[in-house]
């Protein structure tokens, strides 16, 4: 049962461009961007127990780095996107080295400050970034929507497979041990600061990767993508989908992004609704709405099969 679900999802995702075209395919591509962000953020928040508010900012770093490299240096898109991810990882390393020595909410505080500072600087440095108007970016693969979608899907699968691999390895065990009992883990000889830093840098790199991809799909990067509201969206997706499940968070991203398209009519209320959704989820089903629905569905299925 456990292995079937992701396989069915993957088959559906691969077949998606044959079922939907143009608009909904584009929506799906964008939701893959959010899926990468939400699943990497949920690994950090759910499995490592680190809450960073700079995930959207790291995506912005990836996007701007890649955009500027393509525009000014003429680098090919795949290379510049990778460099963008690397730069995001470097920023993650800097912030992590500064804050991860301490326990408590220092990471959350510093990343929130950093995220604001980043948004302010890219808005102010008009000469380089065109400020709040945004920077026009060349599209990837000549704007071919189907191939862009598959690129996004490949990046998403890469993210989930890599992060799941890390979580299932020795390092993953260390991370969970640290989350449950930090002093216990460190007396067993785990260098807790080091492994926290590794997890933070890794997830920051994936955020940067997602950002670079997004830039060349949408064709425009602007300070909008690093707003606090964007971070709220990523948080809502992860919490709704379940913080302790990478796939759940990704599904949460896809569902909420799909909802966003339906809710376009009352755009203004969208983030307020999602904010309320997070508050309700945290209060009533802190493990996430999707994991709970999954358990109910399984129970229902068992009962149904049992009677048949």
């Amino acid at each position: 049962m456990k292995g079937i679900f992701p396989a069915v999802l993957l088959i559906f995702a691969v077949l998606f461009p044959f079922l939907f075209r143009d608009y909904w395919l584009y929506v799906a591509t964008i939701s893959l961007y959010y899926a990468i962000l939400a699943s990497s953020w949920s690994m950090l928040a759910g499995h490592v127990g680190l809450i960073s508010f700079a995930h959207a900012a790291f995506a912005g770093i990836g996007a701007y780095t890649s955009a500027l490299l393509v525009i000014h240096q003429g680098l090919p898109v795949p290379v510049s996107v990778l460099v963008g991810a690397l730069v995001a990882a470097l920023f993650g390393l800097g912030i992590g080295a500064l804050t991860l020595r301490m326990r408590g909410p220092y990471l959350a505080l510093t990343t929130l400050g950093f995220s604001e500072l980043f948004r302010i600087s890219i808005t102010a440095e008009y000469g380089l970034t065109q400020g709040s108007i945004g920077l026009k970016v060349p599209l990837m693969i000549e704007g071919d929507r189907v191939l862009s979608y598959y690129t996004g899907l490949a990046l998403f699968v890469l993210t989930v497979v890599t992060l799941t691999g890390v979580l299932r390895s020795r390092v993953g065990l260390f991370l969970v041990a640290m989350r449950e009992d930090e002093d216990g883990a460190s007396t067993r000889g785990i260098n807790t600061v080091y492994y926290r830093l590794v997890a933070f840098v890794l997830t920051s790199a994936f955020a940067g990767l997602a950002g670079g991809f997004y830039a060349h799909v949408v064709g425009l990067v602007s300070p909008q993508m690093t707003r606090i509201g964007e971070m709220g969206l990523i948080l809502a997706m992860s919490v709704f989908g379940g913080l302790e499940s990478l796939l759940g968070a990704a599904l949460g991203a896809i569902i909420l992004q799909g909802l966003t398209e339906y809710l376009r009519i009352f755009t203004e209320w969208r983030l307020a609704i999602f904010g309320a959704l997070v508050l309700f989820t945290l209060k009533l089903a802190p493990e996430g709405v999707l994991p709970r629905a999954y358990v109910y569905a399984e129970r229902l299925l068992d009962r149904w099969l049992g009677r048949a």
Binding site: L112, G113, S121, G232, E268, G275, V278, L279
Partner: protein, 296 residues
């Protein structure tokens, strides 16, 4: 002259910063959590004052009426979102409170957008005339804001150190277990602390309203400043928070005349605080007046 006027400005703004940060510090001290919705509490206070003032209420009365509403709002939030997880010793409580307060902030901010629109609103100020002290000119809105903040901080300190309720709050901040043994109701103190914290932020928002403008996103930059101040001074320390507030105001005030380009220097005013934060984290992570964290 530039030096003097910048200094005067720093002192005025610093007093306002102290007011908003003391709320954050009090909440941290008693509830042991960082309220990531603090900026939005400030925004709510700003709008509340704006609405009450546009009902033609006399301004001092508007300010006075907004305080019990803000306190009630804070107590309500604590009861709904923070009490049960604390009581039931929820697993991974630390992450939960960060998520829930941040989500609350996002919710309030985006509730304000459709209700009030994205525009800047200017709330009327308590006192309009500019004040001249020799060559020094201070805006009446700033001056009255600073004076009201100063008085509020005075009342708060008196309350915390001289009344039994205030002593109860400080006892819970120091040691909740011991406090409950001597008969202090820890849960009630937590509600009260959150209510007072939100009220302080809201009053600061009302006083900021005439000086900076009121808009749904005003909270974020002030919240970041309050975080910087509280980390700078040492989390949970009243003295440290006040020093931190003036420290940040001075750094911002003099930092902004360092860059020649005026639009840039205005944009990067917020950056100085962050640089200060990074410096503190590097050199003295427990803050100027904080106690060093002891591993269990």
């Amino acid at each position: 002259m530039l030096f003097l006027s910048q200094l005067a400005n720093a002192l005025v703004i610093g007093t306002l910063y102290a007011l908003m940060s003391l709320g954050l510090s009090l909440i941290f001290g008693v509830l042991k959590l960082v309220n990531f919705a603090h900026g939005e509490a400030l925004m709510v206070g700003g709008y509340l004052f704006y609405v009450l003032a546009s009902l033609q209420l006399p301004l001092p009365l508007a300010l006075l009426f907004s305080t019990p509403l803000l306190f009630l709002f804070g107590v309500l939030l604590e009861r709904i979102f923070l009490r049960t997880p604390y009581q039931r010793k929820m697993a991974r409580y630390d992450e939960y409170v960060i998520l829930v307060t941040f989500a609350l902030g996002i919710f309030l901010q985006n509730l304000a957008f459709p209700i009030f629109g994205p525009y800047n609103r200017q709330a009327p100020s308590l006192f309009n005339r500019t004040i001249r002290l020799g060559e020094l000119i201070v805006g009446g809105d700033r001056m009255s804001g600073a004076l009201v903040s100063f008085a509020t901080i005075g009342i708060l300190i008196f309350f915390l150190y001289r009344t039994s309720l205030g002593k109860g709050l400080r006892a819970v901040a120091q040691n909740p277990g011991a406090a409950s043994i001597v008969g202090i109701k820890v849960l009630r103190m937590r509600s009260v602390a959150f209510g007072i914290g939100i009220t302080l932020a809201g009053v600061a928002g009302a006083l900021f309203g005439p000086i900076f403008l009121v808009n749904p996103e005003m909270g974020t930059s002030f919240a970041v400043k309050a975080f910087v101040i509280v980390v700078l001074g040492g989390m949970g320390s009243v003295k440290g928070t006040i020093f931190g507030a003036y420290g940040l105001a001075i750094v911002e005030s003099f930092g902004s005349i360092l860059l020649p380009d005026p639009t840039r220097s205005l944009a990067y005013k917020d950056a100085y605080g962050l640089l200060l934060l990074m410096l503190v984290l590097l050199v003295r992570p427990q803050g100027l007046f904080g106690e060093k964290e002891r591993p269990a």
